[in-house]
């Protein structure tokens, strides 16, 4: 607003006091701010050095090599108590990422369902969705995590009397047990086939669009994409001699054997995060759909498009433009909120880091590592979502 190069200061203009010159003034202010910053940092560092020396804590990241000596209840990579703090922290990071990815996936699904349900012509459905959003959004997330953990999952029966679904899934106090896939030699071929299928599917799609643009002829894109993505891996599965099998849980006399058990902390945290974030995503989706004027739907009808195509080609692409930016911040919120895991002891980055902090007293390093990891997650997510947002943004003149 204040422009440093006002032409009014030509010869003959009244002399301006040096501190009223916007340029000088801004220099003074910035100098003061910088001096203050340097002073604060200097004091903080001096105090930290003194305090750390008094507490006999060596600075630096050398402690990451030391033996951790504590157990971790969920370890995506191999873990033993004799391993280092660095590896423990890495496991925490992986657990955070796991919850974040699983949470984002299900929260998006549930959120879209809630958002659409709120706009449903069915009075009962829209009221349920409304009250779901109201109740969930007005209760603290930590409250909800504790509720699922202490009141729902802890009240599950003992392993002996597990709730069972089709004899495949079991729920009890120790978590939820699901069949565990076993990969034998040759299973890699299926993964390769899946990748090839995905690439081929998108190639077909772009070819079909080009052809349609050039000749007007349509191609069954959806069916062929589904066929490639699903069919190729299935074909590879049989060709390579069925290398994937499942280890099903067996209900023994006192316990379940086999299968893969999701620990209750993970289940409680994921359910709470998904339910909480979905309420916010639901509102975002509703706002996005409502932002598309009804005239667009009517225009689609007058062109003779089928209702499904109106939704796919006209309404959703326009709604997405409104939805994506706030959706991004909800994804970031979910990733950050996964730190509440520490409240129930799920071994995420904050929880494991907190244990390390208590054992070693390396507060500065641990907190710096947390902040670094969360900032990286935030930045990567927003770069991806911004890229996606730019792709779908309205192209104007």
């Amino acid at each position: 607003m204040t422009d440093g190069t006002l032409p009014a200061r030509a010869t003959g203009a009244p002399k301006v006091a040096f501190f009223n010159d916007p340029k000088t003034r801004s220099l003074i202010f910035q100098g003061l701010a910088l001096a203050l910053l340097v002073f604060v940092i200097f004091t903080a560092v001096t105090n930290a050095v003194t305090n750390l020396r008094n507490q006999n804590i060596a600075g630096g990241f050398g402690f990451l090599e030391q033996t951790a000596g504590f157990g971790i209840s969920q370890t995506p990579i191999a873990w033993a108590e004799s391993m280092s703090y660095g590896r423990a922290f890495l496991i925490g990071l992986l657990n955070t990422l796991l919850v974040a990815v699983v949470g984002i996936f299900f929260a998006t699904l549930l959120g879209f369902v809630v958002g659409v349900a709120r706009l449903s012509p069915n009075w009962v459905i829209s009221k349920i969705a409304y009250w779901y959003v109201e109740v969930i959004r007005n209760l603290p997330l930590l409250f909800q995590i504790l509720f699922w953990y202490l009141a729902v999952l802890a009240a599950m029966p003992t392993p002996r009397n597990s709730h069972s679904l089709f004899g495949l899934f079991f729920a009890n106090q120790r978590g939820i047990t699901v069949p565990r896939p076993i990969f034998e030699a040759g299973a890699g071929a299926i993964g390769i086939a899946l990748l090839v299928g995905i690439v081929a599917a998108f190639a077909v799609r772009s070819w079909a669009y080009k052809r349609q643009a050039a000749t007007g002829q349509q191609f069954p894109v959806a069916a062929s994409m589904a066929g490639l993505i699903l069919g190729l891996p299935i074909l590879a599965y049989f060709l390579s001699g069925m290398p994937i099998s499942f280890d099903y849980a067996q209900q023994g006399r006192f316990n379940l054997t086999g299968g893969m058990t999701l620990i209750p902390e993970f289940v409680a945290l994921t359910i709470a995060l998904v339910a909480y974030t979905a309420a916010f995503i639901g509102e975002i989706v509703r706002a996005g759909i409502q932002a598309v004027s009804y005239g667009q739907t009517e225009a689609g009808r007058s062109l003779g498009l089928a209702e499904g195509r109106i939704l796919n080609l006209i309404v959703v692409p326009q709604a997405l433009r409104v939805i994506i930016p706030p959706l991004t911040s909800q994804y970031l919120n979910l990733a950050k909120n996964s730190s509440l895991a520490v409240g129930i002891g799920y071994p995420d980055m904050v929880s494991v880091g907190g244990t390390i902090l208590n054992q070693t007293g390396q507060a500065i390093e641990i907190i710096a590592m947390w902040m670094g990891c969360y900032l990286t997650i935030s930045i990567v997510t927003s770069i991806f979502m911004n890229w996606y947002n730019q792709r779908i943004a309205l192209v104007e003149r």
Binding site: M1, F19, S26, N122, V124, W131, K336, I367, M371
Partner: protein
């Protein structure tokens, strides 16, 4: 006699078919418009009724209302399946509300609440006049009073110190103004006189505080370690929001400043704080702050610092949104009037920007109120922490204690947040008058 083949008067419109009007028409349109919708209605209604019934059944119908200990809430003692164990909540009520605040001193907390309500209610009702005075009292005087009452100590000294510091600051401003006016023309001696007087008065007041003459009427000190329950929840939330406004305004202005260093610092603070979870900010305040300072502040103070920085960074983005919504013409108009930057911002821009984002501010407050639950992770006992502590009391250990505690906490949190969100919608509708057609 002419035979007419056309009607001479209009035919009265027929009533709409019975299937389209009245309750039955509504049901057909909203519940049973197609077989799929009918199925959804049935399934949805079943789920809704089950959930609602479970809640009412537990909290009211099967609940136990009176009793002295856990025996009152045990199925085998009562002889039926027991729902909520409300005697547990009555017995622990003091702990849930005040934590370990001494029983004899709890009137101070109640008085603080009473003053808060007396100041807040008129602030929230648009028809009540004297809003600026009210706001100054609530955001300026009330925090000092609240601290004075809750923490205890001398009743007069804190006020004298605040007045003293304000006088010194005002005096310095006046003296600086005098120095500036000297450069431009004939010096304004009035500035110097008043400024000097204010500084002298301020120093005098601070010295008076030091002597301890006014230390006499004092309340017993209640350490913050003894605070707990809803009191802590409200203290943390209120401090957060009161501190968030000035921090947020400063950071938002800094972010839009043309001075590169100031802008860079503001952006760095905002993005750094917004990019990490609140819990790491709280850990930072609890574990790192004491390392950076010579004397470690009180645990509650550390948490309040963390919460203030956190909410300030979020508030900055809310306020930035408001600033960006102000048309450039308003800035240009202010400059054309010859206003300087502080006046332009405080008289023209900020009032409009803040008015635009009041709903955003209320939403930030709701978020902060919910986030206060996290302080229990750094060992400060808020409402949720107090209720969790209540579960461990063997005197009340029963299968329903846990659920009762959750029901109680849930009702309180929901009541607060729901009221705030309603208020935010109310304000939004009220402020929307200009753009509504």
């Amino acid at each position: 006699m002419t035979t007419s083949f056309t009607r001479s008067e209009l035919l009265q419109p027929l009533p709409p078919p019975a299937s389209l009007v009245g309750p039955w028409g509504w049901v057909r349109a909203n519940l049973l418009s197609s077989p799929l919708q009918a199925l959804l209605t049935v399934v949805g209604a079943y789920i809704a009724v089950t959930l609602l019934w479970t809640f009412i059944d537990f909290t009211i119908i099967r609940a136990v209302w009176t009793g002295a200990d856990r025996d009152a809430c045990l199925d085998e003692k009562v002889g039926r399946s027991v729902g909520a164990c409300w005697p547990f909540v009555w017995a622990k009520f003091g702990q849930f509300m005040y934590g370990f605040y001494p029983v004899d001193e709890r009137w101070r907390v109640n008085l603080t609440y009473a003053v808060a309500v007396a100041l807040l209610v008129p602030l929230l009702i648009p028809a009540v006049p004297q809003k600026p005075l009210n706001a100054v009292l609530f955001f300026g005087a009330f925090p000092i009073l609240a601290f004075n009452l809750l923490y205890g100590g001398s009743l007069i000294n804190p006020w004298l110190s605040v007045v003293g510091w304000l006088a010194i600051l005002g005096g310095i401003t006046l003296v600086v103004g005098y120095l500036m006016s000297r450069v431009e023309g004939p010096p304004n001696m009035l500035f110097l006189k008043w400024g000097g007087a204010a500084i002298a008065v301020g120093i005098l007041l601070l010295l008076l505080v030091r002597t301890g003459i006014f230390a006499v009427p004092r309340l017993p000190v209640v350490e913050t370690r003894q605070w707990g329950g809803l009191l802590v929840t409200l203290v943390v939330a209120t401090t957060g929001i009161v501190a968030a406004l000035p921090i947020g305004v400063a950071l938002a202005l800094g972010r839009r400043s043309k001075m590169p260093i100031i802008r860079l610092l503001s952006v760095a603070v905002i993005e750094l704080v917004r990019g990490v979870p609140l819990i790491t900010v709280l850990f930072f305040a609890t574990y790192m702050l004491p390392l950076f300072l010579e004397r470690s502040p009180d645990a509650m103070v550390r948490v309040l610092v963390g919460v203030s920085i956190f909410s300030g960074a979020y508030m900055a983005e809310t306020i930035r949104g408001g600033l960006q919504a102000i048309p450039k013409g308003q800035f240009e108009g202010a400059m054309a009037l010859g206003l300087n930057y502080p006046r332009m911002m405080s008289l023209i821009i900020m009032p409009q920007a803040l008015k635009l984002v009041i709903p955003g501010i209320v939403n930030a407050f709701i978020g902060l109120f919910k986030d206060t639950t996290l302080v229990s992770i750094v060992a400060i006992f808020d409402l949720l922490g107090g209720i969790r502590a209540g579960f461990t009391d063997p005197q009340w250990a029963s299968p329903v204690t846990l659920y009762t505690g959750f029901a109680f906490a849930g009702i309180i949190y929901f009541a607060f947040c729901y009221f705030m969100s309603r208020y935010s919608i109310f304000v939004e509708n009220r402020l929307n008058t200009g753009r509504r057609r």
